[in-house]
Amino acid sequence: MNIYFLVEGKTELKVYPQWLSHLTPKLSRIDSAQDVSISNYFLISGLGYPRLLDVALVNSVEEINECANYDYLVLVIDSDDMSEQEKVAEIQKFINDNDIVLNPSCQLQIITQKSCMETWFLGNKKVYTSSVGKHSDFYLHSKFYDVSQQDPELMDKPEKIAGSTSIYHETYLRKMLAEKNIRYSKSMPREVVETHYLKQLQKRVSDTQHLSSLKKFFHLCETISTQ
């Protein structure tokens, strides 16, 4: 079983290898897609949307077809302000419009991060502070939405916020973690890559119906591990 991961941005580049070492321990990472042999995974970032589709997907498919030894192409993409179905439809349309043909022995799996990877990170109940002081930077955010009780994937953005839902989720995450003296940035995600953090997300997904897009990713990892 060999997997080719094409992920959205730079944060994913730091988080997925750490997570995969726990979720799919039998797979070992290779630095070059051409080095694939048995139980390997290759992971590359498309450096953001739309480049992820316009440039990186096309090149990834070409690379996979040339190697002919990959079982899955896992495309990890933010849904941003779209629904998961809309995002998947957009990708399928892009593939059809551009005559992108993947080697039939390799299966495409689309994992949409709804709205973005930071939304998933919001699922750790242990890093949520329920009683926040009025002077805290997190106060208004905690009043707007309680991610420990409600599904983070369903959190919208306040009307005043001009940016996208994804940008708001990142802001929410940063301020939520700061309340616990944990620093987060897209380029240095720090704590969220750790096993204890991942375990809390797994617990959230198994205990509740929340974070359904993350659940699909965990399910895919189980499938890969059992094959």
Binding site: A56, N59, E63
Partner: protein, 384 residues
Amino acid sequence: MYIKSLIYEDQSTDWKLELIEFKPLTLLVGVSGVGKTQILKSLLNLKEISRGSSLNGLKWEIEFRSSKGHDYKWCGAFENKGFISEIISELEDEEDEKNKPNISNEQLFINGALIIDRTKEGILFNTIKTVKLSQQESVISLLKEEDQIKDIHEDFKKILFDNNASDSSRFERLGIDTEIKSKSKKYKTLQAIRNSDEKIKTKLCLLYKNQRKSFEAIVNSFIDIFPHVESVKIEPINDNNKKLPFFFKEIPFIQIKEKNVCHWIEEFKMSSGMLRTLMHIAELYLCADNTVILIDEFENSLGINCINQVTQSILESERNLQFIITSHHPYIINDMNFSHWKIVTRKGSTVTAIDAEKFGIGKSKHQAFTQLANLTAYSEGIDS
């Protein structure tokens, strides 16, 4: 000259550059703060040392081929007087000048043979001890009149540094040369203009006067970038209203004519980006043969507009130009073959530059920049 390799250390700050080998075109890539600009400054410091400067704590070993085709190795070290802040060193007075660091050792090899061997006790030049000379100046500066040295003393002058700050002020833009008439008699040929020590604008003016065909080559490159430009001239301003001060009347200025615009646009009314581009093309075309051009943050100085001109200049092999460039920009990085890249990383104060090929870049179907940005050595280039 052609710089083959460099090992460099500033003992006063403990900053070290491990052996870096250069090519005709070297693109230094790496995250901010990793030391790319410092590598260029190291070469500029060696230029300063070749001109007689005393630079505290520096230790170097540089290999290069001279314009005349000889292989040189020059190494040496200044004594280390400890860390001195740059601000303090700017404020040093004459008394401090006398206390400048001495050179503790220096060697110069030509085609593998040791020509100069210097210790604290003195200088052996072709095995013969010289008279007592300043201990603060390099042998390249002290012995520049000697046949074996004078060419490389001239060669070090050919290291040019281009950063994004040049030619930006209005004062610089006006840069009037009142001696242009006499200079145009002195520098007639393209070669003479290229080899002169004149400023780039003066060189361009001399070219317009004496080598119109070559001037048009620069103009054509400029028009390729800005197709709305029809023509460029360097002439005194047309003063129909007699408002110009008399001393301006004979001074030539760069002027451009745009399509569907009836009048000529004078250089101080041109967009700064256009004027800068013209100057950069001129710099590339009018630098002396065998020049080493150091360009910091290529995207901000010469810029994306000029990338084709740079590539062309490199391909014109008879000019023997060498480029050492730094950049962060995906367009620049993608547009230059990865065989030219060196990935710069830093551990503490030790900087290393490694060929991109050694990281497997180039094997993948992905764009070169995608591969670079996915590389841990690039994205986490500083390891403290």
